[in-house]
Structure formats: C-alpha cells, structure tokens
C-alpha cells in the first residue's frame, strides 16, 4: 500500500484540468484490468489515481452521418451487445466476443485496450480495418490520431501525461464480408497469439473491390497491410490467390519484426488464418 491519492473527476473538463497540472504524477484508470495488474506487480510510482470510469463524455456508441463513434469508456460487453456495431462494424463486435472473460469484458474499456498498447490488444485489428481515428483531448484542445500512430512502441502509447482518449471514430461498413478471428492457447481467457480482422467487398464480377486487413499480436505496434490489400484488390479471390496473399502478409510481419523464435509458428499460422478467415469469400 502506498500514499497514492484517488481522484474521481465529475466530468471530462475536470479530468483534463487535473491532468494538465498533474498528469506526470498521475495514473489514469478506466476499466482497470491492465492497471490493476501493474499495480500488483510493480506498484505504480505515481501520486494520483485518476478514475475516469464514470465520465459520461467517454460513453456511448453513435452513428451520425457516416461517422461511427465509439466512446473510449465503452466496455467490451457493451461493444458485444451493440446493435449499431453489429450492423456497421461487425468485426469490432466479434473482437469483443471472446475477449478475455465475461468478468473482464464487463469493465474493460476499448480505450484502455488501445491505450495499453499491447501488441495483442484484440480491439485493434478491427479498428485498423475501420480506419479508426482516436480523438485525443487535453485541456487545450483535441486532435485525431490514427491507429498506427497510437502506439510509439509495444506497451507505450503516444498519449502525453495531459491527454485522455475520448472516443474512436470509425468508418462504418455495411454489406460485404467482415470477420474477426483469433488464435489462442485455449478457446477462452487467452491472450491472442495471432488475431485478424478483415472487411471485403466484391464487385458484380466477383472481383475484390475493397479490402481492409488488420493483423494483431504479430507486430509491436498496429500496422496497415496495404501491400496485401493492393495485391488482392481487383482480383477474383481463389484459394491459391488468398494463399499467396497470406504469404505476403506473413512476409510483411517478418519484415517488421525480424525473424523471432515465434516466427516458426506465426509465419505459417498467419498464412493459415488468412486463408481460413477469407475462405467464405472464396466460396461465395
């Protein structure tokens, strides 16, 4: 136990004011499922715990004018049960399905999952696929941050001490085919070894007209996979083509991470998962 002080601001403005002055000495806690683990193992070495879990401004899922916004404080349970997300960002909803456990989904937030900057954050691939931008606020104003910029390196977000993640703005997708899948060492309550999100649209000739890929647990920070997307766009997806594209995807991963010991598994498994996740597109 330490002398750390607990602060619960009543609104976002208050929170941002506090952080402007004291952000350096403050640990922000939203769902807490990552922070509490750190607290237990390393202590926090901070003077203040700022509890933003009840800030209304961070809640809510809304679809306005082609903009789908998901509050950073929305829990994984809320993401899973959202009808709006089911129709407009199904991959994100699916990423919440087997996220950790029910108990954790009930309090863990999407903002926390992204800000924690774990390479294995399960909400990230779907956010990449939806070209999500994070609205980051501090006392002086706001800015938009892409998913690729959110993490400077593994477990290090780009947020400065005065900043709070407010919401994510996604491009909603309807129609087409979308999915999220993960591979873990067991079927539930497992950190992803590999996770993947896709969104595909085909034109009337059966060619891929639009494709977005998000790859999780394979790179230190979120990365777009534009070369693979470009490779497949305009082509009719056959098994062999998808297989080839999966090879490129795996190759991209190796380029970014180097050949680690985990590559012995991940290189083929990325290719395999890519085939599995897009197989319905081949068949249809």
């Amino acid at each position: 136990m330490t002398d750390i002080e607990y602060i619960r601001p009543l609104n976002l403005k208050e929170a941002l004011s506090f952080l402007w002055e004291k952000g350096e000495d403050t640990k922000i806690i939203a769902g807490g499922t990552d922070v509490m683990v750190d607290l237990r193992s390393d202590g926090l070495d901070k003077k203040y715990l700022l509890d933003i879990s009840r800030l209304e401004e961070l809640k809510g899922i809304e679809l306005n004018n082609k903009e789908l916004s998901v509050g950073a404080g929305v829990t994984l349970s809320e993401i899973y049960s959202s009808k709006i997300l089911k129709s407009n960002a199904l991959a994100l909803k699916k990423s919440a399905k087997n996220f950790a456990s029910k108990q954790i989904r009930n309090i863990a937030t999407i903002g926390g999952n992204v800000a924690h900057s774990s390479p294995c954050g399960d909400t990230v691939p779907a956010l990449v696929v939806h070209d999500a931008k994070a609205l980051v606020a501090d006392k002086k104003g706001t800015r938009l941050v892409s998913m690729e910029e959110m993490a400077t390196k593994a477990y290090m977000s780009c947020l400065s001490p005065g900043q709070i993640l407010v919401k994510f703005i996604l491009t909603p997708y309807q129609g087409g085919f979308t999915d999220f899948q993960k591979i873990g060492r067991r079927r539930e309550l497992a950190v992803s070894r590999i996770s993947m999100a896709v969104f595909v649209k085909k034109d009337k000739d059966g060619r891929i007209s639009f494709l977005k890929i998000g790859l999780g647990a394979c790179t230190p920070t979120p990365c777009k996979m534009e070369s693979v997307e470009a490779f497949l766009t305009g082509k009719i997806p056959t098994e062999n083509l998808i297989w080839e594209a999966g090879g490129i995807l795996a190759g991209n991963m190796i380029k970014i991470t180097g050949r680690r010991s985990s590559a012995i598994y991940k290189e083929p498994a990325v290719q395999g998962l890519f085939m599995r996740i897009l197989y319905p597109v081949v068949k249809s």
């Binding site: 607990y6 683990v37 009930n106």
Partner: protein, 164 residues
C-alpha cells in the same frame, strides 16, 4: 484514504479505505466477508468474482474506491434467512462442488447470468463461466447445476407471478 459508501448484500456500508487496495481486499479484510476468494490476483481465474450493479466482475481487478455508490452482491448475499438461492441449491443437488474454492466465484457468475438470461443454452453458460476456472470438476456437473438452477428460477418466478 478514500471514503466510500455502497450497498453490500443488502446492507449499507460506509468506510475509509486506502486508495490503491482492490475491491477484493476491501471485502475480505475491511468488511470481513471471506467467502470471496483470491486465486491468482490478476483476473485469470475468476475465484474473486462478485456482482457489482448486477454484473459479474473480478474483484481483484477492481479498485476498492470504485465500489462507491454501487450495489454489490457476494456469495454471502445469495441466500435469504430461509432459503438458499436456486444456484446454491442446484449446485448442492447436482454435485457441482468438489474442493469448493472456485465455487463462490462460479455461483456469482451463474447468478449474474441467470438474472440477465433466465434460460441460457450450453453456449451461453459457457460464455458466462469461461472466466471461472475449476481444476476439480471438469465443469460437467457445474453446467447441469446451472441448467437446473435456471429451471428452478423460472418456476419460482412463475409462482411469484401468480402471487405464490
């Protein structure tokens, strides 16, 4: 120190707690209810599961300070003076308990599930309970217990409707 006020098992609680202790520690050490267990301390086993505002939560992952203003139910709050809760009764009847250490957490997850979904199928029970690890039972009799508890809960609700 933080001052918190909340309801636990139907009783009002008001106390001052250190800012950085967990809800688990608050409940066990400060309030003195030992039914909720620590199995791992990092949210990976579910033994510490309680209900906060109707939701199943790992109390080892929740700041004690966050209990402020909430309604909490722990395993001690399931039974009334006269009766065991349906989940408790059915776990007993259907041998869903062996060493008993995971049991309070599982009962709370099951309790939260049945409050939200009175007629869960196998998949739904699985999703609700997959955050509660058991090393003894292999889960089969636990699932039977939950299904039977759902039936009993339904029967009791029907009785209530007709003023029973």
């Amino acid at each position: 120190m933080v001052h918190i006020e909340f309801t636990i098992n139907g009783q009002k609680a008001a106390l001052d707690i250190p800012a950085d202790i967990t809800a688990l520690e608050t409940i066990r050490s400060l309030i003195g209810l030992k039914g909720t267990k620590e199995g791992c301390g990092i949210g990976e086993c579910g033994a510490c599961t309680i209900n906060v505002d109707g939701k199943a939560i790992n109390s080892c992952l929740m700041l004690g300070a966050r209990l402020d203003g909430t309604t909490v139910v722990t395993v001690e709050g399931l039974a009334t003076k006269e009766n065991l809760a349906p989940v408790q009764e059915k776990f007993m009847e259907n041998h869903g308990v062996q060493c008993g250490f995971c049991t309070p957490g599982i009962l709370m997850s099951a309790h939260a599930l049945l409050a939200e979904n009175p007629d869960p199928d196998h998949k739904e029970i699985s999703r609700a309970l997959s955050g509660n690890l058991c090393r003894c039972t292999g889960y089969s009799q636990i699932f039977v217990s939950v299904k039977e508890a759902a039936k009993l809960t339904d029967q009791l609700n029907q009785l209530k409707k007709v003023g029973g």
